[in-house]
């Protein structure tokens, strides 16, 4: 089992995907952090909520909203890294040598899931720090409090990094459920950038359906951070951090099981 873990980890770090996407992640998050922090800290700036009313924003709310941007906008990248670690095995037909080295397909799936965690941590830490660094700098430039002297804010930052880590594992699960790389990437981009934000907005407008929105994967990821862009703008309530983590891990496990009993149940030809 340990051998498989090491092998799977080495697979991730011996191709270029991980650092190319990591650079994109850090650049994107630094840009978002700085841009949002500027927007929130201009004099008289108000954020307009989904319901059209101005949302009052104190400095701590502004800071945490900026620092949790990775779990709102950046999670697609660790998700993709996890996803590609599985789909590339199918795309490049390396599944055969992989299963020759580890014929136990349960262990193979678990190894993939677990081996993605260090990479998820790396994305989580660097992506979050890029946001915090750029965001805090922008707050300082605008003479606004950064909130970084508050321990609770650091708790939010740490949980944001955790959310990104879990997203990486979700990517692995999704890869098993959807091994076609092109299809999987299209689904990820469409779902994260389009389907879920709209679904959350629509569900949030209906009181009866609103609770369901909390269980969408993006909402669960934001819940891990606690407080985020969408919830600050009034687009639905979130679960608690622990419940959010449980829901998101649940997605990873369910997707991986789905893949185990469909994709990996079949003959490998």
């Amino acid at each position: 089992m340990k051998d498989s873990l090491v092998s799977e980890y080495r697979k991730i770090v011996t191709t270029r995907t991980w650092w190319v996407l990591l650079i994109v992640m850090v650049g994107y998050m630094a840009f978002m952090g700085a841009a949002m922090a500027f927007a929130f800290s201009f004099d008289g700036a108000e954020v307009t909520g989904a319901s059209g009313e101005a949302v009052p924003m104190d400095t701590t709310t502004a800071a945490t909203t900026v620092y949790t941007l990775p779990s709102t906008f950046g999670y697609a990248l660790p998700l993709l890294v996890g996803l590609l670690s599985v789909t590339s095995e199918f795309r490049h037909r390396t599944l055969t040598p992989t299963l020759l080295a580890q014929p136990d397909r349960n262990r193979f799936v678990v190894s993939k899931l677990v081996a993605s965690i260090p990479m998820g941590v790396l994305y989580g830490v660097l992506g979050t720090l890029a946001t915090v660094g750029a965001g805090a700098l922008a707050f300082v430039v605008n003479d606004t409090a950064t909130g970084l002297d508050d321990g609770a804010v650091w708790g939010v930052i740490a949980r944001t990094a955790l959310a990104l880590t879990v997203w990486c594992v979700v990517g692995v699960g999704l890869g098993f459920a959807m091994p076609n790389q092109v299809v999987a990437i299209v689904v990820v981009l469409a779902f994260t950038q389009f389907v879920e934000p709209i679904a959350r907005l629509v569900l949030g407008l209906n009181d009866a359906l609103a609770p369901a929105g909390k269980f969408l994967p993006g909402a669960a990821g934001e819940a891990i951070s606690g407080g985020s862009f969408y919830s600050a703008t009034g687009a639905g309530d979130l679960l608690g951090p622990a419940a959010g983590a449980a829901v998101l891990v649940g997605y990873a496990v369910v997707l991986a099981l789905l893949g185990r009993f469909t994709t990996l149940k079949r003959d490998i030809t």
Partner: protein, 332 residues
Amino acid sequence: MPPDATHAIEVSHLTKTFGQVRAVDDLSFTVRPGRVTGFLGPNGAGKTTTLRMLLGLVQPTAGTATIGGRRYTDLDRPMQTVGAALEAADFHPGRTALDHLRVFAPQAGVPDRRAHEVLDLVGLSGAAKRRVGGFSLGMRQRLALATTLLGDPPVLLLDEPANGLDPEGIRWLRDLLRALAAQGRTVLVSSHVLSEVQQTVDDVVIIAGGRLVHASTLAELSGLAEPRVRVASPDAAALDALVARAGWQRAADGTAGGAGGVGGVGGVAELVGTDVATVGHAAFAAGLELHELATHGVGLEDVFLRLTAPAPARGAHAGAPAAAPTAAGGAR
């Protein structure tokens, strides 16, 4: 069984159906340690499916396939028992040759320096840090072979390992496989061309249409190849008469009489069951002018093609051709 037979490959009544198609049909054979065995058959004969069942990648519909008495999926560290290379294309193009081997080293239970050793062994040391995406087919074959050797396994299964190798590479591969077998390892090499492995293998297992058509030593297979006497004369009619008078049998698929032979005129006959001395003497006695008189072997390739020709009926006995060589005379 000899004591070194602990890592024999046993395939027993193996069957695989894909929908209506019987890709492998009640196939049984044994591959012995210490020998190179050619696993032969035309494209689509079921070779790859058989190997994939042997390696636990494809679930058999019926029957068993074991290595050293155990199924592949029951082996502890399979790479230490079996080195298998199924397709030369199974690499991530963005990974270097060395990294490819380092990925599998933990599962083979070997330290990273073993990766350098096997690269040396297959002559790829110079390309260790290059990405596999830029490799030629021959280089990929060498890297695939290096991967199989990583765990120093007693059993090697190689699917079409000579594909893409240049003549020098083929000779190198032959020497390496012979050396590995000489160390007591079980070596199974598949190919759809007999001539490609003819100089490498000790034993042959030939399948066609998913069924076994022949299993024997290479020497016994050679026994199935009868020598032919080719005789050409400018006087076709006299040649035909001589053949008829002497009662020689023409090869079933040989060139018939009529135009042909040297210069395009006269007759040519391909005869079996006789020899050049007999034919030469008879022609001399008959005063027949000959332009060609020679023995030529029916290559093993012809035997192979005959064995693997589509069977006329499903009921054809798989074992029947294997019984023939005893009657057909010794090997040449």
